[in-house]
Structures are given as C-alpha cells and as structure tokens.
Amino acid sequence: MDKSRVKLKVDNISQSYVVGDEVLDAILNVSFDVYDNEFLVILGPGNCGKTVLLNVIGGLEKPTGGKLYLDGEEIVGSDKRISMVFQELALMPWKTVMENVEFGLQIEGVDKKTRREIAQKYIDLVQLTGFEKSYPSQLSGGMKQRVGIARAYTSNPEILLMDEPFGQLDAQTRYSMQEEIQKIWQQEKRTILFVTNNIEEAIYLGDRIILMSKSPGKIKEIYDIDLPRPRNSMDPEFLAIRKEVSENTDLAL
C-alpha cells in the first residue's frame, strides 16, 4: 500500500431513499480515501448501508449528496476502471463460466479470440480450469463466487468492489477463499474495497478497516492493520485488534 497516492476519494457521500412518506438515510456523510493497491475492508453490521455505498461507488446508484474522485478526477456513473463482485453473485444462468467471465470484454467489443485468452487467464487464476463450459447451476457456492471474482478481474479494472463475496459460503470454504483472494491480490495488485460483516475476515484481509456504525451508515473508526501476511487469527496481536474492533462494533438491528 502506498499511502502517498490516493486512488479513490470518497467525499461526503450520502444516500437517502423515500420510503412511503418518510425519508430513509441509508448512508450519511461518508468520507474516506482509498490508497493505491490497498486492500481496504469496510466492516459494518447488517443493513448499515454497505451495499448502498458500494453501489454508489460502482455507479449503479446516483448519490443524493457528495462526490467521488478517481485519480483526482471526479467520476459520475459507472466507470470502466471500477469493477464489481456482487453480493448476490449475479452470474447469468444462461451463460457458461467462460461466457460469464468474458462478459465485460464482450461489452467492450474485444474480439472473441483475445477475450477468451484473457478470460482463461483469470479462470486459471481462480482455479476453475476445466469448468469453462459448465453453467453456474452446476457449480458449488464457492466456485460460483470464484466466477464472480474472475469476471470482475477480466475487464482489467483498477479498483475492485467486493460486496460480502464470501457471505453465503460455509465456514471451511470461506477460510480457503479468504486465503485465495489474498493470494490473487498479491499476484495481481489492484485496489480492493472489500465489504464484510465478519470481524475476523476483516482483520485477516485488510490493510485498513473502515468501521461503519449502524444505520444510517456513518464512519465510526478507521483501523490500520500492520500485521504481516498471511495472518494468523490465533496470534495475540490479531486477537487484541479483534477485541478492540469487536467492542466498538454496533449490533445489527
């Protein structure tokens, strides 16, 4: 992580919805910097607005207030340099693994041969070699999540947004996917914004952790995690941080 280079600046972002005749603030005045090649974890209880925040950064929703700057320039709407791994996977059931992974390149209009080559590289990277022709419904939860990750990487983004990508996996698969995402990040250096509601996962993966309060989502605290990687969740320092973060975390509603 290079703290001297701000990759993405989130400046005073708020998002509200009108529900019935009330206004619901999902996130309120959220500001933080994301450094180049950083693994930044956004940690918060359920319903605190984590998905809303990522959707705003990914350009899927227009915020009611605030601005976003990528490499110092303001961005509006979805930007090619930002890719998303969706919380609900969002793999297209009518496409094979290969077709799902190459989707971003297909949209860009990259010719078939080139995009297959690039997609293959990331399919191999997430260890799905041999499953190119399978349909999502034939894959396990962990494998589907890998497809989502490969799809996000394939369009060669500078920033990856990952919304609780391991939330629906069993504990065992979750641990191995955590290890793996860390390896992928070390091999293919990108800036990652990783959303989770799991404290251990946050400390295991994050260079920094942004802790959000419960709704309306605001930034409560930012932690620097300076432990060497790969981290050990039994390590006394790990446990100390965990205790600190845990005591500071709001309970979900």
């Binding site: 899927l60 969706f86 297209m92 059931p93 009518w94 496409k95 989707f103 949209i107 860009e108 369009s155």
Partner: protein
C-alpha cells in the same frame, strides 16, 4: 453405525429403482388397457374396432380423398400452421419484446393488446371469413389470430421479469441500452419466449382444425368433417388419432428445440 446407514441407503436405492421401473411400465399398461377397453366395447356395439380404424387409415392410401392420403392431408394442415407460426414468432416475439422492455410502448399498446386477447380466437372466424372469404389466406389468418396472443404474452412476461441484478452487471461494465437488451434482457427471457413458442404451437394446431372444419378441401380438420358427413365413423376415429399423434409430436419437437436453444435449463432440471 455406518454399515447400518449404508444398508438403509441401499434399501432406499433399491426402492427408488423399483419405482422408476414402475413409472416406465405404467404408461404402457394404461395404453394397453385403453385398446383392450376399446376392442371390448367395439365387439359389443357398432363402434369401429381398433383394427377397422387402422384399416380405414390404410384404405386412404388406395382411395385418397380429394387426391390426398393421410400424409397429404396432415401436410396441408402443417403447412398452414407453419406459415402462421413463422409470422407469429417473428412479429409476436418482436412485439412482446417491445411492450415488455419499453415503458412507453407498454403503456401505449397493453390496453389494445389486452382487448384483442380477451376475444377468444374462434370468435374471429366469422369476421375473417367475411373479410377474406374461405380461401387459403383466411385459414392462415385464423391460425395467426388464434396463436398470436400466447407468443406475445409469454415474451412480454419474460421481458418484464428480467432480474435487475443482471441489468446492474451490465451497467457496471458500462453496457449501453442496446447491449443490455440483446445481451442481457432477451437471453434471460429466452425460456419464457420458448414457453410462448410451445403454447402457440399447440394453440395453432387446435385452431387450424377449427378453420378446416368450417369449409375446406384439405387438411385433417377437413377429413374429420368428411367422416362425420359420410357417417364414416372409422374415418373420424382415424383422423382423431392422427390429430392427437401430430399434436403430441409437435409438443415434443418444440420441447426439443427449447433444449437445443436453452441448454442451461436442461442442466438445471438434472
């Protein structure tokens, strides 16, 4: 413990295997019983027996009606529905996509279309006959009117139900509206579109018979009416059986086509 479990599983598997076999045999038994019942009834009344019916069908080859044997008449009917369906699949799917995807088109056309749909297909026959006479064109028109709605309704439903999540994936990759339509919305509606293709095919087969029964010189619908007029019960029965078989065959073909075009649905059902 583990051994017990395995034994249980084996029992369970055996039971399932036996059931599977039973499920395969039962349909054969039921058809056999039907033919048996039919033969018994026929032997005790003047209802034609299976053999007489079959012979009547064969006789058509030596003694064609209006110059055509059973294959000739079936082909006539099939050509009529093919032309009508080709038209419906082209324009019905396009129209369904339009009113399922474009909010303005939906608001504009849905009331008109619902009005059209509310009139049962057969009610169109007199009007079409007055307009176009009783020729080939008007028969095809009747079939078009009779099977258009199911194509449009299913296509529209499929397009209205496109999951926002997939559209979001498109947005996140900067897809334009055209790409969202052709690469996300239509493919995701494809199984609904195929449901429309299947129902429109069976509807067309039903309506073409009605059209042929109301004045025609060819087709299976004509054969059945000819049988009725001539009090030729074996001919009526033979035509009925052929109509049933062709109907079943059409259902199988469209289903096969769907599996070919939507391979992922086959995967899911496995």
């Amino acid at each position: 413990m583990i051994k017990d479990k395995m034994k249980n599983m084996n029992e369970e598997e055996k039971r399932r295997y036996r059931l599977e076999r039973l499920y395969k045999i039962l349909p054969v038994i039921s058809i056999f019983l039907l033919i048996l019942l039919w033969s018994t009834v026929a032997a005790k009344s003047d209802f034609p027996s299976p053999k007489e019916t079959c012979d009547r069908l064969m006789l058509l080859f030596e003694n064609p009606i209006k110059g055509k044997n059973i294959f000739g008449h079936t082909a006539e009917s099939l050509i009529r529905i093919s032309i009508a369906l080709l038209f419906n699949w082209t324009f019905g799917i396009a129209f369904g996509i339009l009113i399922g995807w474009n909010k303005k088109a939906k608001a504009l056309f849905t009331p008109l279309f619902n009005g059209f749909r509310a009139v049962p297909p057969l009610a169109w026959i007199p009007l079409i006959t007055i307009w176009f006479g009783t020729g080939e064109f008007s028969k095809i028109m009747i079939v078009i009117f009779g099977s258009l709605a199911s194509v449009v309704v299913n296509t529209q439903a499929g397009m209205l139900n496109v999951d926002q999540l997939y559209i979001d994936v498109g947005t996140s990759f900067n897809a334009n509206e055209r790409q969202k339509l052709f690469q996300i919305a239509i493919p995701s509606a494809l199984d609904a579109i195929f449901a429309g293709i299947r129902t429109s095919t069976s509807a067309a087969w039903m309506v073409v018979l009605a059209a042929e029964m109301l004045g025609s010189e060819s087709g299976v619908g004509f054969l059945i009416v000819r049988g009725m007029d001539a009090m030729d019960m074996p001919l009526v029965l033979a035509a009925m059986i052929v109509i049933g078989l062709v109907g079943a065959l059409l259902a199988i073909i469209t289903q096969y086509l769907e599996r070919l075009m939507c391979p992922w649905t086959r995967v899911e059902s496995n």
